[in-house]
């Protein structure tokens, strides 16, 4: 395969300290992209940035709460200060505390919506102006198949993820004239801490392989799609939700 031509670009990856976000950070580093790893977890974000530097790129960790205006403003200062331009924003930070509708407290509702959807808004708002100014940019948000299917004990999560898809479409229309694209990636279930936290290993395995391909998706399996959407090869794709899910959901 020819390289993705991402060499020397700069990216911000929220939620990059572990799981899918970490895999995306390392995938970008392999393509010689400089990276800011933004995550609530400072130490883990530092470790991932160090791993990225092993590929010879500049990588920094910025402790960030994507649901906080001040924290995201700090992230933008740090990233733009260090790299001068940010070409790629990956919105990956997300949480899924399972609860049935009747048990969702206002606190849980607000936190899920603030992190998963509000985090997209705050981060896009922080990085879009510089992308517009440079007449190029790629925004890639990790949504979820649950945006389309819903899930028991996941009404707040489904609302936030479907919200991301709607948000990305509107944003794509706003920023398109400036050469910026915005797309979402919708995985089904992937083997990370997030589903591990509410399943036994046996339950998790059964869920992971329950798809037409019978394949248990790992965080690395989203990297190819994210790199494609970040590259020149996808310069005419915007406002789309790309399902990477072994055929579970087809829309």
């Amino acid at each position: 395969m020819t390289p993705m031509r991402l060499k020397g670009k700069s990216a911000v990856v929220t939620g990059g300290a572990q799981g899918i976000g970490r895999a995306i950070v390392l995938g970008l580093a392999r393509e010689a992209t400089n990276i800011a790893v933004a995550d609530l977890q400072r130490d883990k974000a530092e470790e991932v940035a160090a791993e990225a530097r092993n590929f010879g790129v500049t990588a920094i960790a910025v402790q960030t709460d994507v649901a906080s205006e001040e924290s995201v403003a700090n992230l933008a200062r740090q990233a733009l200060g260090r790299f001068e331009r940010v070409d790629i924003l990956v919105n990956d930070a997300g949480i899924f505390p399972q609860a049935r509708v009747t048990e969702i407290t206002e606190e849980i509702w607000d936190r899920v919506l603030d992190v998963n959807l509000g985090g997209n808004f705050l981060c896009c708002r922080a990085f879009v102006p510089s992308m517009r100014a440079q007449k190029s940019g790629r925004i890639i948000s990790i949504a979820s198949g649950i945006a389309h299917t819903g899930a028991v004990a996941g009404a707040h999560y489904a609302a936030s993820k479907a919200g991301i898809v709607g948000f990305i479409k509107a944003l794509a229309r706003e920023v398109g004239p400036d050469g910026v694209t915005a797309n979402a990636v919708c995985p089904n279930i992937i083997d990370t801490e997030l589903p591990r936290s509410h399943r036994t290993p046996a339950e998790l395995h059964e869920r992971l392989v329950r798809n037409p391909l019978g394949y248990a998706m790992q965080p690395e399996d989203l990297v190819g799609t994210v790199l494609f959407l970040a590259s020149d090869a996808a310069s005419y794709i915007t406002g789309q939700a790309v399902n990477v899910n072994c055929g579970t959901v087809m829309i």
């Binding site: 395969m1 398109g176 004239p177 019978g214 790199l227 090869a233 310069s235 794709i237 055929g247």
Partner: protein
């Protein structure tokens, strides 16, 4: 060994761009088209750069011709790893009550039946090797509809439904089936029919401010044929500058 791709409609427009893209990625291409000269011309362009290409004349609507064409390719090449069904088009802009049965059949057969026939003949080779990629071509009109294009919208929506079912059928054989849905794309044939003012107007409606190029679409076909998309099946990738966001 290089992968082998069979590309229908590879003589012109998007199919030609896909053949050129695949060839630059080291894939051996078989260009299938009923315009034999056009298919030959695409292959000649590829061979100039030392890559492997051969042309096959076939009308995708004719079961016998498709069967023979695929059999000959399998005979010579041993297998087909990637099938890109691109032959198609809308052909008519007519109100429903003005459409003849023959016109309806023509549009359905080229876009949908041709896709079915090539999938049917090629799938066994892919199943045998437990590996393969099928990429069919729809259009945003298959999702949104379009006045004066009833048969085309029906055919392209049909391609999407067909591809989902085939994806489910072939999943356990390691064969992935996806669809590329191009938006307005400046192929030579489309450009002939457009007056420049209408083209400008259309481009202004598109968030990215321009019509697509055959090369834009070819990148999506290549992505769906590559290891980067190994967990994607049954999906439709819309490449339209944000014109349609289903």
């Amino acid at each position: 060994m290089a992968d082998i791709a069979l590309i229908t409609g590879g003589g012109n427009g998007i199919g030609r761009a896909v053949a050129l893209k695949f060839a630059t990625e080291g894939i051996a291409v078989v260009v299938a088209d009923w315009e034999a000269d056009a298919a030959e011309k695409t292959c000649a362009e590829i061979r100039i750069n030392g890559a492997d290409a051969e042309a096959v004349r076939v009308d995708v609507r004719r079961a016998g011709e498709v069967k023979d064409a695929v059999a000959r390719v399998l005979d010579r090449r041993g297998t087909i790893d990637i099938l890109a069904n691109i032959a198609g088009g809308s052909f008519y802009r007519k109100r429903l009550e003005e459409l003849s049965w023959a016109e309806w059949k023509e549009v359905l057969d080229i876009n949908l039946k041709g896709t079915f026939l090539f999938c049917r003949e090629t799938a066994p080779a892919m199943i045998r090797q437990k590996r393969g990629r099928i990429i069919n071509t729809a259009s945003n009109y298959g999702v949104t509809g379009s006045a004066l294009r009833t048969p085309y919208s029906a055919a392209k929506a049909g391609v999407i439904g067909f591809s989902k079912s085939l994806a489910l059928e072939l999943a356990s054989d390691g064969v992935l089936v996806n669809v590329v849905a191009p938006g307005p794309t400046d192929t030579p044939r489309v450009m002939e029919g457009w007056d420049p003012e209408a083209r400008q107007k259309r481009a202004a409606e598109i968030p990215l401010g321009r019509n697509g190029t055959p090369e834009d679409i070819a990148e999506a076909f290549y992505f769906l044929s590559s290891p980067a998309s190994a967990q994607i099946t049954g999906q439709t990738l819309h490449v339209n500058g944000g014109w349609v966001m289903p």
